[in-house]
């Protein structure tokens, strides 16, 4: 099952897609079924992150090709950083690019949502603790990188810089999360491509590593890193991140003036 959280007519609703019927259609469905029986147009709702996120954990340099692209060697231990609640944004939102930035890029990532509490969980049973998956677009502004707690919060924890959605997809509906194609399109042009089979630390290893020192609780989410192919984006660009079976996550880059700056 795949479900969204949307705001419509004064309330927040769980919504499921009304299928277009076209085989293999990744596009946003034209209509959504709300839990209360109403059927509404996808364009008439505000899409929120599809679940109430707890701790947001992200991985840097977790695809060998991307690490190479950024001229880093493959890490010996997962490069983990954390995000606060203010950075989260839903499908079809706007992410601000500061006027002084020279290099802002998207990062298409598989997000793993924790279900059952995980504490000192071995990799062999780690996937039993996964509730589901969604797409994440984890923006970075490289101009603000400093070598202190890198990647620093000014790069990775900006308001509206972490996009999640559109759907929460049950783990049961993702037969092999270790073999999913990821793609990013900027204004419809393919710019990034990868597959979760190329993760340096795969999902069971990440859950084993993280739960060895921190208890993972329902709603905590792990953004597993991005493959190579990050390019600069500018105001007006429409950035679409796709993952096999999870849908398409759309975001638009906005300029300072749209935020009153």
């Amino acid at each position: 099952m795949m479900r969204a959280r949307v705001a419509f007519a004064g309330a927040i609703h769980e919504a499921t897609p009304v299928r277009s019927g076209r085989p293999g259609d990744l596009a946003e469905p034209e209509e959504l079924a709300l839990a209360d029986g109403r059927v509404v147009a996808g364009a008439d709702v505000v899409w929120l992150p599809p679940f109430q996120a707890g701790t947001v954990i992200a991985l840097g340099l977790n695809y060998a090709d991307h690490a190479k692209e950024l001229q880093f060697k493959r890490p010996d231990e997962p490069l983990v950083f954390l995000k606060g609640p203010g950075t989260l944004l839903g499908h079809r939102g706007m992410t601000r690019r500061p006027a002084d930035a020279k290099f802002m890029h998207y990062e298409c990532e598989l997000a793993v949502i924790v279900g059952r509490t995980a504490r000192r969980t071995p990799r062999s049973s780690a996937l039993q603790h996964v509730a589901g998956y969604c797409i994440a677009n984890d923006y970075a502004i490289r101009d603000y990188l400093e070598n202190w707690y890198r990647p620093n919060l000014r790069v990775k924890n900006r308001d509206g810089g972490t996009v999640l959605g559109p759907w929460f997809v049950d783990a049961a509906d993702v037969p092999d999360s270790g073999n999913l194609g990821l793609r990013t399109l900027v204004n419809g042009k393919l710019t990034q491509q990868g597959n979760t089979r190329d993760l340096i630390f795969d999902i069971p290893q990440l859950i084993e590593y993280l739960s060895s020192f921190m208890t993972l609780r329902p709603g905590d989410v792990i953004l597993t890193g991005t493959p190579e192919g990050v390019v600069n984006v500018v105001p007006g660009d429409v950035v679409t991140c796709e993952i096999d079976g999870l849908g398409r996550l759309v975001n638009t880059i906005a300029a300072d003036h749209e935020f009153g700056r």
């Binding site: 983990v80 995000k83 203010g86 950075t87 924890n157 308001d159 020192f213 208890t215």
Partner: protein, 231 residues
Amino acid sequence: MLADAGLFSIPCDVPPFLLSGAVYGALLNHRSALAALGEAAKLPPYHAPPVAPVLYIKPQNTLALPGEIVRIPAGTPELEVGASLGLVIGRTACRVSASSALEHVAGYLIVADVSVPHASFHRPSIRFRARDGFCPLGPAVIARAAVANPDALTIRAFVDGRLAHTASTAEMIRPAARLLADVTEFMTLGPGDVLALGAAAPAPRVRSGQTLMIEIDGVGSLSIPFMDDEA
């Protein structure tokens, strides 16, 4: 580890009356902490001293109430405890100016930033800093009006009753208002969020069986017992 309901048991008599559970902190904001690095701050892997605030997050699994036992992981002889003043946000703070920043503060509490001692600030040291129970805080949110000047408070830490650490919030690179202005330039802080101003170096260290007490003038005292991990 603090259950979500545990946040309710930290008294807060001013709006928003409840912590949100989001806790951020500034590293190397106390002059002594950056000075302790000396010339190394200009060398690889850092290359240059920090320009923006060096921030970190204490996730919800780290939050703990006063008196809760902090567990020392196996193979670790002692833990380090950064003793900091925590600013509790009262009103949503986005792009606040330094001159109006403190108007967004509801009050203050003590934040104990517990970590496994480690030398490097190059990467976010989640494995050392985000372990379960590694952020005791409290004992209560003291209203802003009750604290004359957050930038002139003495912080003391006692290990088993013996004074082990003294610092002052007057020695910050970014005093409270400046830090709020620089942080909210790019990330909004909401009601009940906590921003720890920064701890002095050298931070006190504790071993299993010891109790650390942090005291901040007018803000109260926070007692933290330490024991070896049972597992």
